[in-house]
């Protein structure tokens, strides 16, 4: 049962309605950022207030919620947000990707492939991909309107001239549905491929920056690259997860002592547990 004294899912109905309208527009124009009147939430900006507001506007009492932070279900941010929604909605929660109808995530996409009917909500710190090139939002909005994304390619090209490869490791810019340049939130580029043609609905919420955007199911999401420098993802050559032995998942490097000892483990805890014998 939800805690008395709060509206279901914390937000008032009026706020939910305005956010819902923004979400529908976001789906109609994939990758385009829709401004919304972000509310103050009972936690600071930077802790996922955008994602929480999107989740609160979508969630129903039949939903099963999973929350992850860097792939893990048991880190502070994930535990807090899961407990928050349990308190204000009384919904079922789960750590299993396959059981969840709604997944809120900070900086990872689960390894287990998402399915039709599932919705994944990303917490976004900075939604504007052109911000690193054009600090003025007014100018950046014009560049989006004119589809003027050349400078983003120049930035990646500068990486190549300097380092010999594209050095952007996370929040790697993508083009959605052949039109809008979009930031996928700080997921590792390993996850970029999962966004493409995904059967699940992907929603993005940026609370401080007051923007919502979306990628509908089965929509093309293409990571920027060059013909001679195609997009690549991280590889861990001869490494496997120390717990489950997986070689196909995103591995975190964990320093274990002062002598430089280290090990590699799955970042996605649910996937890791599922691989254990």
């Amino acid at each position: 049962m939800p805690e008395p004294g709060f509206n279901f899912a914390y937000l008032d109905e009026q706020t939910k309605r305005s956010i819902r309208r923004a979400i529908l527009k976001a789906i109609a124009i994939p990758g385009h950022q829709i401004p919304f009147s972000s509310r103050e939430m009972p936690m600071s900006y930077g802790w996922g207030t955008g994602g929480i507001q999107v989740t609160a506007s979508v969630i129903g009492k039949e939903d099963t919620l999973k929350v992850i932070d860097q792939g893990a279900d048991d880190t502070t941010n994930a535990v807090n947000i899961r407990r928050f929604f349990k308190k204000v909605c009384g919904v079922k929660t789960t750590e299993k990707t396959s059981e969840a109808t709604l997944i809120q995530t900070r900086h990872r996409i689960p390894e287990t492939p998402l399915t039709e009917g599932q919705t994944i909500v990303y917490q976004v710190p900075m939604p504007e991909p052109l911000f690193v090139i054009e600090p003025s939002r007014t100018e950046a909005a014009k560049m989006h309107a004119l589809e003027e994304y050349g400078s983003m390619y120049v930035k990646l090209y500068e990486d190549i001239t300097q380092f010999g490869h594209i050095a952007t490791a996370y929040d790697y810019p993508v083009i959605v549905d052949k039109r809008y340049l979009m930031k996928p939130s700080p997921i590792p580029r390993f996850d970029n491929l999962k966004m493409n043609n995904n059967p699940a609905l992907q929603l993005f919420g940026a609370g401080r920056e007051k923007r919502i955007y979306a990628v509908p199911p089965y929509t093309e999401v293409k990571s920027l690259d060059f013909e001679d420098y195609p997009f690549t993802v991280e590889k861990w050559e001869d490494k496997a997860c120390e717990f489950c032995g997986a070689t196909d998942s995103y591995l975190d490097e964990v320093v274990t002592d002062n002598e430089g000892g280290r090990m590699w483990i799955c970042s996605d805890t649910d996937y890791c547990n599922g691989q254990l014998p």
């Binding site: 309605r17 789906i27 129903g60």
Partner: protein, 196 residues
């Protein structure tokens, strides 16, 4: 006029479940989706359209009603949502349409601007049972965001509708989005859907 008909029985969860259906309908264009909320709509609105209005309209939205939708509907919407009404299709956020054959052209509605393409009209088009005549070859096939490969639009619409739709696609990302509403069913047609 005194409004006698109630709105949603359970405001919070009926709005949420209806929104979830609208969300699914728009993100999977061409699929038929069922609204589960129960209500008695005023004469002239079907359940799906009434539920959609209650879910999306509020003090911040401007609504255009196609002529022929009576005073009863207007006061019902005003009482339950507080929305404002406009006669000007170029100004409206939502348009409620009951007669697709005589609706204004898409270009008569708000299209958004290049910087704010979202500032556009959403059309709520009520359709009757006659559109479900058996599937035929002339039903258009759509592709685009939300569609796995391609999908055949399951309803029979006037040719003029599709001619306009095709032409409108050239101005993407500007344009209008459409919901088709019948009994308690919803089909979404976002501006990304393209006839192939």
């Amino acid at each position: 006029m005194i409004v006698e008909l109630p709105g949603f029985e359970d405001l919070i969860h009926d709005s949420q479940s209806t929104f979830k259906v609208l969300l699914y309908a728009l993100s999977r264009p061409g699929t038929i989706n069922q609204i589960t909320a129960q209500l008695t709509p005023p004469r002239g609105l079907n359940i799906a359209c009434a539920a959609t209005c209650l879910t999306l309209f509020d003090l911040e939205t401007k609504v255009w009603l196609q002529p022929g939708l009576g005073e009863e509907i207007k006061s019902w919407l005003l009482f339950h949502t507080g929305c404002s009404f406009t006669e000007d299709t170029q100004q409206t956020d939502f348009a409620v349409i009951w007669d697709i054959d005589n609706m204004p052209g898409f270009s008569q509605f708000k299209q958004g601007t290049p910087i704010y393409p979202e500032d556009s009209t959403t059309l709520l088009i009520m359709i009757g049972g006659q559109v479900f005549s058996p599937l035929s070859d002339k039903f258009p096939t759509l592709s685009g965001a939300g569609i796995n490969g391609q999908i055949t639009m399951p309803i029979n619409l006037p040719d003029s509708f599709w001619q306009q739709w095709q032409k409108k696609y050239d101005s993407y990302p500007l344009g209008v989005d459409v919901y088709f509403l019948f009994y308690n069913g919803v089909i979404g047609l976002p501006r990304t859907s393209k006839i192939i």
